[in-house]
């Protein structure tokens, strides 16, 4: 409990730092960062969705899974970098609201899982020649992973929005309820 109190005090102090105060009181920093964050979410979500829908055979017919991954993965990684950068600014502007939210940490856990799945998938795509066939449907394990990955990203988007409503969504489970 002592640790938790120290954490809260640290976050309050961080929120009072000149940089955080400048960001939080600026009328345009937070909305601009949030707008860029949403555009980057669109890019990463649609990139993942395009690869996943190619794997299950809905879009990009006639294009191999490897070509589809090569077409969209670089966009997803760039968007991830933009999300990390804008996300960091948003945390600095309101450290307490972000880092005390259970939604934030659940989002980070799902993000690590999503990235792990994607890295493993992309490694296989670049070594396994089975992914070069233009029309071959993917194996059932891969198709299942495609649906799971879409589900994880939908959950990440929900949790990102829930950060602002943490006590409303999680009730007493939200650490913010007790601050």
């Amino acid at each position: 409990m002592e640790d938790a109190r120290e954490m809260v005090e640290f976050l309050i102090e961080l929120g009072q730092s000149p940089l955080s105060l400048a960001m939080a009181t600026s009328p345009w920093v937070v909305p601009t960062m949030q707008s860029i964050h949403i555009m980057a979410i669109a890019v990463i979500f649609i990139s993942v969705l395009m690869i996943a829908l190619r794997i299950v055979g809905i879009t990009w017919g006639g294009v191999s899974i490897r070509s589809t991954a090569n077409r969209f993965a670089p966009w997803a990684w760039c968007a991830l970098a933009v999300l990390a950068a804008t996300g960091t600014v948003l945390i600095l502007a309101e450290p307490l609201r972000e880092l005390m939210a259970i939604s934030f940490w659940l989002k980070m856990i799902l993000l690590v899982i999503a990235i792990t799945i994607s890295v493993r998938f992309l490694r296989a795509v670049h070594t396994d020649e089975a992914f070069t066939h233009p029309d071959e449907p993917a194996q059932s394990g891969l198709r299942r992973n495609a649906y799971v990955t879409i589900g994880i990203w939908v959950a990440i988007i929900f949790l990102g929005r829930f950060i602002a409503y943490d006590p409303l969504v999680w009730g007493s489970l939200s650490p913010i309820s007790s601050v």
Binding site: S35, F162, L168, V169
Partner: protein, 171 residues
């Protein structure tokens, strides 16, 4: 009935009360709105980048567009439904919010841009389907990206302005 009493009635409707007060309904609807935005903006971006000759250039334009059409429209319908639900609880203040009004104008402009492209530029698509699109098509793509980015920015700004605020005060 004038406009303000119409929006006031909307605000006091049962549906509006439900969205606003039934547990975490409001943030859930907001989340679905974000997913809908990602579907619309993401798929439109792919088509626009194809028009600009930046990406997917080895695939015919009509195939790129056809593959994504259902996702774009599905996302758009979802965005309209969730958008109306988010509008209801604050209808009286949002309809006079300058950022909301700018967002609606940008939406109409994006729709007109698409209409002109479909009715005029895309008529000759068979000529450039497999090659670089003409300048008129590139212009439509560029306009589309800019207008939709504007829709997102002014949409986000709605939540940051009170009615009396000048949204450009910081400039």
């Amino acid at each position: 009935m004038d406009l303000s009493s119409f929006f006031s009635a909307l605000e006091n409707s049962a549906l509006s009360q439900f969205v606003n007060t039934f547990g975490p309904t409001y943030p859930i609807v907001e989340s679905v709105h974000v997913i809908a935005i990602a579907l619309v903006f993401g798929t439109i971006l792919i088509v626009d980048l194809r028009l600009l000759g930046v990406a997917s250039t080895n695939r015919p334009f009509t195939r790129v567009a056809h593959d994504l059409l259902k996702l774009t429209w599905g996302g758009f319908v979802l965005a309209v439904i969730t958008g109306i639900l988010l509008f209801l609880p604050n209808a009286t203040s949002i309809y006079i919010n300058i950022n909301f009004q700018i967002k609606m104008i940008l939406l109409i402009a994006a729709g007109l841009n698409m209409l002109v492209f479909e009715l005029v530029t895309a008529r000759g698509v068979s000529v450039w389907d497999r090659t670089a699109p003409p300048n008129s098509a590139r212009l439509a793509g560029l306009l589309s990206i800019g207008l939709w980015m504007g829709v997102i920015v002014f949409g986000r700004l709605i939540g940051f302005t009170s009615v009396a605020d000048d949204p450009f005060a910081f400039l």
